[in-house]
Symmetry: C2
Subunit: 162 residues, 2 copies
DNA sequence: TTAATTTATGTAGTCAACTACGTAATAATA
DNA sequence: TATTATTACGTAGTTGACTACATAAATTAA
């Protein structure tokens, strides 16, 4: 077994380790789609599923619902449109807006993709289903949204000065 | 309170949410150093502390100890050297190797930085110290290192086909 | 009705990890 | 000893999120 200096550092290295884990998962996911010969990317499930549920949403609506910055959504939608999975419909009166919808191709392929995603969930469950990781994640996100990491640290710094 | 579609998706969106959290923390950390007027970056603590402990390490040794790919270490070391925090000493006999060490400037500044990092740990502890998050992280990393996310999913897929 | 503000989208560039590949030096083997 | 394999490091390019800024349309206010 290799040494892991980050692990030794405990709480200090949480952020770095989360990034390390996340990168590994993302990379692994990418490879999985390639091996399965599927022409989609790992994070597209979000768009597929939200449009499966809502049928027609604007860029901003999607961004709000998934709590991403809107340029991230623009980028995903652009790629998926190029691959023929999405279509854009201009708003009837508001010329700024466009509505994003699943294409027929997307609707056809969706059941197949859903099976893959379900298998991913099973794998994840087998790995961490017995823990309360999901609840912890919710808690951390709530707290970070309330008071960011920066302010929490600055508060601690000020407290120590007294 | 805003809707959060990712949260509704449960286990399926774990990776995406981890990235979302991680990005937020990194960005927040960056801003913190700026506000404090410190000329260092959020992830440099790893290099500072490992060289505080070991004094003289090669690029590859650092990469192994923190379990990063070596080009990541090269990039960090390069930046820190430019800022005057690190020096490189060529190996006496092996012309491929260079040893990385803390500069005098780094040694002078280190106590100040350590206070900041300690405050960060306090903040993190106040936030998630009551949980077993650290243990969970260890468990997840161990399992991912053992069998990656991809293979876990492919196994589940095959299992369902029978 | 004109001006100011807000909203929706798009573009450009950043960030911190990664892989893939290249090269030179060293070590191991035939 | 000559060849081959390994090791150390470096460079180039990718990834998927982000911020900051730009622009045009719609709404609100003066």
């Amino acid at each position: 077994m290799e040494e892991d200096f980050l692990r030794e550092l405990g709480m200090l290295s949480i952020t770095t380790r989360l990034k390390r884990i996340t990168d590994k998962m993302l990379h692994d996911g990418k490879k999985m789609y390639q091996e399965l010969g599927l022409d989609i990317e790992p994070n597209w499930y979000v768009i597929f599923l939200i449009l499966d549920e809502h049928e027609s949403l604007s860029i901003t609506e999607i961004a709000n619902k998934i709590q991403f910055a809107h340029p991230s959504v623009v980028a995903m939608v652009e790629k998926m449109t190029k691959k023929g999975f999405l279509i854009s419909v201009p708003h009837e009166t508001d010329n700024r807006k466009r509505y994003i919808q699943l294409s027929e191709k997307a609707k056809t392929k969706l059941p197949t993709y859903k099976k893959i995603w379900a298998a991913g969930v099973s794998g994840m469950n087998a790995m961490i289903g017995h823990t309360n990781f999901l609840n912890l994640l919710n808690e951390i996100e709530d707290k970070l949204n309330d008071t960011g990491f920066k302010n929490r640290t600055l508060n601690e710094l000020n407290a120590n000065e007294n």
